[in-house]
Symmetry: C2
């Protein structure tokens, strides 16, 4: 428990998420990827495809959190402005870079795809950035200082995360466990949970109501109590205490 | 097109989303609800259950956007701190309020539920806030100025939105249409799209690659081109132009 907490943020870039057209899954995917590395998300933001908005959000997030992961806006079309916005946020020069170009050349030669001037856009990388391999479609992401620029397509973002795991320095790994209660409402157990939160200050205790429709239309309800901590021993003690006090565990 | 654009933000409050345990669906749900009212999302944030973080994000968002919708953290347990954080952000006093209490009394009387001291927490409403009806579980949300405080459980949040639709003043309704291309990569059509973006500056043109696994494991790919505008006539012209230029529409 003497390791410090390592915290990250996700910046989702894209009108398609804000319009409701696309359901973001990258926040969750990145959280799940980071968790076993001992890194937890402290914040996430979704901004639209406007350079000023991206720059402002990125500068706020990279100053506050250990790592920032952006998703989206690194393709070949006119609305893909992430690389230029990241360069602007860092005050760095950006242009088509030879190493990124070589990757595109090799990738497209294999698949017989033409390297059009539009596709050249995907080789625009800020000065001093290190590339992130894209095992799905070739065009790389990149890292500038504590900022990792990933694709928005979830499969590609996932592939890129594999390439950067070794670049991340994690802290103590947070363990979590869940106690599922059925036929119980939050108000029934709030005092027990409040007392446990006081008795076990090292444990984060969350309480999440759920509703479920059964076959036949009958509605069931309950609460999931989630305990989180990097201290496994105390976590086990808190679980034992709560299980002995809470009703109707399923 | 002379109506001004009305823009809103969503503030998702909850460690359970940042931990990756829960997939947020409220950002999308709120975007879809607002769209036909002529309100679009300009930003979304996810913050953890820390008062300082909620206050900071809320004050930034309510100053910038016409409306802010928060989700999560208004239940009866120790980790439900949204109401107090919103009161702090506005510098307003907060306590158990009689009108909210009356709703809980009536609701619980019907269902034979005890109004415990923990449940009283759900009647904590900032001074001057107007209540938002909760048709699912009774405990109300509330509105302070341009901020609407909703529950985190998606079904409850959806029910609360119905109660506030008439309080929102929308702008011109954004229409959107989508052209689905199969067997095409973004780089193949980037020049056509870039030219159209120049020719139709009133139209927002988005380009979103997709990948799909077919039965038998064969992978297909394509691009969805999405056009958005409050100007239906120009939208139809842009669609016609693009359809005549783009290949392989499915």
């Amino acid at each position: 428990m003497d390791e410090r907490a390592v915290k990250a943020a996700v910046l989702v870039i894209g009108d398609e998420v804000l319009s409701g057209r696309t359901q973001d899954v990258n926040i969750r995917q990145i959280a799940e990827f980071l968790s076993p590395l001992g890194i937890t998300l402290g914040e996430a933001r979704v901004v639209s495809d406007l350079e000023a908005d991206i720059v402002e959000a990125l500068n706020a997030l990279r100053a506050r959190w250990d790592y920032v992961f952006t998703t989206g806006g690194i393709g070949p079309t006119h609305d893909d402005i992430t690389a230029d916005a990241v360069a602007a946020a860092f005050g760095r020069h950006i242009d088509v870079r030879e190493d990124a170009l070589a990757i595109l050349h090799e990738w497209y030669a294999k698949s017989g795809t033409q390297l059009t001037s539009a596709r050249l856009r995907m080789a625009r990388i800020p000065d001093g950035a290190s590339l992130i391999a894209n095992p799905v479609t070739g065009a790389p992401g990149f890292q500038v200082e504590n900022v990792f620029v990933l694709a928005g397509v979830p499969k590609i973002a996932r592939g890129m995360l594999e390439d950067i795991a070794h670049r991340l320095e994690g802290g103590a790994v947070t363990q979590s466990l869940s106690i599922r209660l059925e036929g119980v409402r939050e108000g029934d157990i709030a005092e027990i949970l409040g007392q446990a939160a006081k008795d076990f200050p090292a444990i984060s205790i969350g309480s999440y109501p759920w509703f479920q429709e059964r076959e036949g239309g009958e509605l069931s309800r309950g609460v999931a109590v989630v305990l989180r901590s990097a201290d496994g021993e105390t976590l086990a003690r808190a679980e034992q205490t709560l299980k002995s006090q809470l009703p109707a565990q399923s």
